[in-house]
Symmetry: D2
Subunit: 381 residues, 4 copies
């Protein structure tokens, strides 16, 4: 093992520098993961821009303990592992050994608060701490983020062994893809019976929106319409089975709504999935919905201010079913990896990572991830 570990550290909003940390000694039950790839997520961009995740996310996302090592979408291999961790760390009880490829749930939960006790699988824990943003790198063992050569895996982290046949550039998508499991139940809540064959609109096909689009297809969607500002992303949505695409830069709001209505005999879509992060998409999406349709909001993770809504028109009269979603279920990494294996032939998961950067290029990478001609940008140490 090396004596020093290199990492990109965000010392304050807008400031990233490369630092070295001592390779730590493992406590009982812990392990070290050699990072193969770490994705850049919208949360990282918000933290960098100093934006406010006031009501969502973890307590630490709400008040970042700078300096931090970002990176919570991580894939890597077991570098060093304690005896206790070999049998105790893998979520499903599989034994781990050095060299095994793994992904990890970044959210560490207490297991004892009301949400941990009553709500299945979701890290709505009142004491949750997130790798990549909740730990100050000033406090040893410091290595709690993926933009680094190594990550220190505490005994209370959920770790998942990656099956043979899933390359790192697909495994790195496990965390954002796990978010899409919110759709599984929500889409069945539209009035009617069942989802299979339904018309689905995805507003915003950045990495999360694209994962949702893919999931809708895996769950048996009928027509899928993707909307985005970027032709690059819309083209990619088509590669991942979108039936129709709509560039929101080149269309008026009313025309977009009309377009959806025309595709659905005037009724509106059965399901609309909001992944833009722009609050105005919310009411636009509700107007695209048929009576009794389901709207799933996953994009407004950061506080971007208020909008106007007509409760009568958008909610009551529409008989809308609306689902807000943050976080992702730690119980669904297994299913996520299984889907990567089973649906990888028809859906080219490998293409989702479009840009790769070294640790020392972390700031460039972060800025690049805000461009429209990217999908998932990753750090590859």
């Amino acid at each position: 093992m090396p004596k020093r570990v290199k990492a990109a550290v965000m010392t304050a909003p807008g400031k990233i520098e490369i630092q070295e940390f001592p390779y730590p000694k493992l406590e009982s039950g812990a392990m070290m993961m050699k990072v193969e790839m770490s994705g850049i997520c919208g949360t990282d961009k918000h933290t960098y821009k100093g934006e406010n995740v006031q009501y969502a996310g973890t307590a630490s996302e709400r008040k970042t303990p700078f300096p931090i090592i970002p990176g919570h979408e991580n894939v890597g291999v077991v570098a060093e592992i304690t005896e206790e961790a070999k049998k105790g760390l893998e979520f499903y009880g599989e034994e781990l050994k050095e060299g095994d490829r793994i992904v990890m749930c970044p959210d560490v939960i207490c297991g004892k608060c009301w949400y941990c006790r009553q709500i299945h699988g979701y890290p709505w824990c009142e004491n949750v701490k997130g790798y990549g943003n909740a730990f100050s790198s000033k406090e040893p063992p410091s290595l709690f983020g993926g933009w680094a050569e190594y990550i220190y895996i505490r005994p209370d982290v959920f770790v998942y062994k990656v099956p043979e046949g899933i390359p790192k550039e697909v495994a790195v998508l496990a965390e954002p893809f796990a978010v899409t499991f919110a759709l599984d139940s929500a889409i069945h809540s539209s009035a009617g019976n069942g989802f299979c064959g339904d018309t689905v609109v995805v507003q915003g096909v950045g990495p999360l929106g694209l994962c949702c689009l893919i999931k809708a297809r895996i769950l048996g969607a009928g027509d899928i319409i993707a909307i985005d500002l970027s032709d690059f992303r819309l083209k990619m949505a088509e590669e991942f089975s979108a039936d129709y695409i709509l560039n929101a830069k080149k269309t008026e709001k009313d025309k977009r709504i009309d377009y959806i209505r025309e595709l659905t005999d005037g009724r509106g879509a059965d399901v609309v999935i909001g992944c833009t992060g722009v609050p105005d998409s919310f009411t636009e999406g509700l107007e695209m919905l048929r009576r009794g349709g389901a709207y799933i909001e996953l994009g407004n993770f950061v506080d971007t201010g208020t909008i106007n809504i007509n409760v009568h028109k958008h909610v009551c009269a529409k008989n809308a079913r609306i689902f807000g979603v943050t976080n992702h279920p730690f119980t669904k990494y297994g299913a996520t990896l299984k889907l990567f294996l089973k649906y990888g032939e028809q859906l080219p998961f490998k293409k989702i990572v479009t840009h790769r950067y070294k640790i020392q290029e972390a700031e460039t990478a972060l800025k690049k991830s805000m461009d429209e001609d990217t999908m998932k940008v990753v750090i590859e140490p």
Copy 2:
């Protein structure tokens, strides 16, 4: 049978007069119902005030074909019945004869549009016509509303025989109570598993809110908190098993939210039911909700303008599940009547009708129904 039938006619917004109509001849499959009681509903008030039901309700509610005979919450007895109607009119196939007490679904559906074909039970029919507001009394047989001595029941109306043991002042509640069946599935959509024992807030305990409160109790709610502006209505909520009451006139919004949080260890309620008709209740109710809780909006049936919402805070970060509800399932009159029978001992349904007026007092009755010291006001010919 009489030769002339007396009815209260709304000739324009704000104008009600008493008219007489010829007792009509029945077409094949039709029947005449002698009205015993007809409830006054929020929709009637909106129509009287000339308010806009722009996006909800039936096409006819959206553009009222004055003059009309109001009244769509009707109970009565079979006065005259054609041979075909005896075997064909009762929803569940029961045979009808003169003297039988019945209630009716006011919504007449086409049975052939997409909504009729695909969505179970709900009258989201694209061609729906509602008794009490969709038929001009200028066109014979004119008698399509309950504020009259008789109602003409067309062959395409759903009629339900009232079991022995349910008095008219309880049967008259069948229509608004059937609305509450939207709760049955919605309340199970809060994250967690199941509803039984959950904490429920009911915002607004006028007739519809009170029916929702009662239904929450029948479905196994834990603590129920009723909020209203009227002490009269809050007292009644207590009689119907509310555990806590809160007069919104005497409290600030923030205090009300704090109150709910205090009752729930700081988390917020599992389920909030919005029945005020005031759009600001929507965001207030969402702030009363715990993460992953369910908000059910049944009150903003009429367009009362826009409000501000923070999609991040109120929907996404809250992981809220929101259900808009209009109309009621015509399949649930049977269950409604069964509940009146089974739960009538512990829940004093008879007390819900607080004021009764004659047909000629219809305008007085309508105005009275807007007062805070009323619950259900009815016309009793």
Copy 3:
């Protein structure tokens, strides 16, 4: 139009002869469909063998009014259509004209019995009459089955326009594929949360089992294991995305159960779908299930006698969820046709029809359909 219409008539169990009928005059609202293809179903085989569909199916299936024209999986084109039918016959309200390709729901429901009124979409109608087995061909207009040049479509039949791009040999599968919509809700009833990524066993991959296997894949299954007696059918299951196959002729029951347990870390499958028609498969399948898994029984459509079950072991201790399924939802032809369009690239629906016969070869076709080296056998007039 021709003056005479040729049809294969089953005059008694085991007896099929070719007859000619007069081309009928259409009543108002009716139409004539020129048959392009008519599938042979398990029910047809049972009827031919004189087997007992005592408790399932329609009243007519329970007591067949010989002579009949079999054939209820039908695709064809509009040959002649009344004015009323042009606007009134298509289920979703689309206009029909001569030459349009259509499929039809063979079950004609009353729309008025308790099941029609309360249960959505399923033809559990107490007065249901099924094309292909409920009408004696002795009574004009006689043409109520698909093994004929033409079918007489009554005004109360549900007819569905087939979208461009679906060939007849795929459209002919609409009826059996619609049966699989029972899976959509049932598979979500296994304890756990959601189906996506689950391990699914399909017992018996004849035409219905293969449709179920395909549907499981469309709904996001993880590993799928197909079991059958026929290598021909198992090979086809693999072409349709089965991950593992097991020939029940070449294995012992215990080995089969062990095999499933080995694939699932000793737990058993999440979902088992029973499509063999052999009652012993039921307990075998339950033993393949994990605790809290879902078993869906669609195969024992005909009475094949009793078997032993240990209620403690197979149901209670297993915490099994078991779903019996007959019939198919008439509301799901639209979704079925949509899935044919959307998933046809990755799943070669066209290959499912393996054998085609002329009307005059109907008996040969029926016998052939009992062979192991067939999938769907059809009559193609």
Copy 4:
């Protein structure tokens, strides 16, 4: 604290003797509970009779490590508590102090196996150990059952504080009542939409059946029919809101089925709940069910051999939904206690405990609990 603790010990099937154990020293995180009352459950009777719980229950129930102290339905008060336990032991995070009344979940789970990780709330844990039957009293601290003056509560037990206003004879029912939460989702699985107003049959109204009957009423059942061999129990079912009762000793199977059909216009019940423990009730109950109805089997907890079933008739053609249930959700003690508070006025929970015995009378108590003129029999030290 005393130096010696008295307990009833089952040393082998059929053998109970009174022993004394040293009052133990507490490990960190543990506490001692002074037993107020401990219920006698069917499992205790099976263990005493030496019956086989081969496939259900915990590993320890399957092979009892005699000698044991029985008793897993326990209520008591905190007698002595370690500092760590004060803040860490209560399931919902409430602080505990000496004198607090508590109930406990007898099942101690590992939290790490597949079932613990994937299935919410249910103790299907592969390593579960149950108080009252999984711990040999030969191994200190010995006191792992409720038929004793004190119980040793390990740090990994789930303990629940009992709210003010619930007396011990009601709190003692928390464990069997929590079992009924299996109904909450299962009853909604009958085809149709929703449960409220449904007709429910409860086969067997011993303590568990009575709890199910009560729960059905709390969840909004329509007519409830109770069937049992004991007039004593049937009378009690009536006190708890059964609408109809049927003594199975005095009726033939066919007559019972006919009786249910007559009450339901010939269709059969919407929901049947099996709590007899007699396997033949299973098929009888399925015959009482309407098409698409739900059957919930909670009674055959012990292996009582096989019965005949006709898969075609009882499952497939019936379109039955069948749910096997063992164990109970540890997440639902809170809701259970809330229901005791909210529904105690209309449902006389206090009367369910019909017989009380001292520790030294444990064997008499156990035998008495097999009599027909008892409901819940308890040990009250």
